[in-house]
Subunit: 108 residues, 2 copies
């Protein structure tokens, strides 16, 4: 996992914060599949993820429409349902528009 190579803002960030339930229950395979599938979607810019008890995954999209379209992809819909039922103790999704970005590599 590396820092996402996003373009100059504006673009859309989807911040997914979660706590897992115990056990894997197919989570690891699904998780990698969702990253692979997301990265094939129109408008996908990148993804960053870390878990330390609390998990935070931020996916970046060209615009709100492409983020919303990804939410509706059938295989992702099924994963979301299983996430609510089995994998996540608690979660929150926040959709945001990035207006500024700065760091030693500039405005990625």
């Amino acid at each position: 996992m590396s820092i996402a190579q996003t373009p100059e803002p504006p673009y859309t960030a989807v911040i997914f914060t979660s706590f897992r339930t115990g056990g894997d229950n197919g989570y690891r395979v699904m998780s990698q599949r969702m990253v692979d599938l997301a990265s094939q979607q129109p408008g996908f810019l990148g993804v960053e993820s870390a878990r330390e008890g609390l998990g935070i995954t931020v996916s970046y999209w060209v615009d709100d429409a492409s983020a919303a379209a990804w939410k509706q992809v059938t295989e992702h819909v099924i994963a979301q349902e299983r996430g609510r039922a089995v994998w996540y103790e608690d979660y929150q999704v926040r959709v945001a528009t990035v207006s500024r970005s700065y760091g030693p590599s500039g405005a990625r």
Copy 2:
């Protein structure tokens, strides 16, 4: 660390993604001090953080002005300088406006 109890959007999210250098060099103490200090600032709503190689910290603010004011707090300015010089191999800061939020607990 728990999922931040933010209000109904809109509000501001500051997404800080980073890779650390080796060694502590005072990082752990500063890191906790910055969380404590941030939480005392006007407009602070909450913070979420996880590190797994890549570190992601998202702080939430009432508006862009309160997030910008926190960036200018003297002790935080000093920490940012030390971060650039010593603690971080690479980092990116993205300032975003949250427009939608959903999860099992509603629109936090």
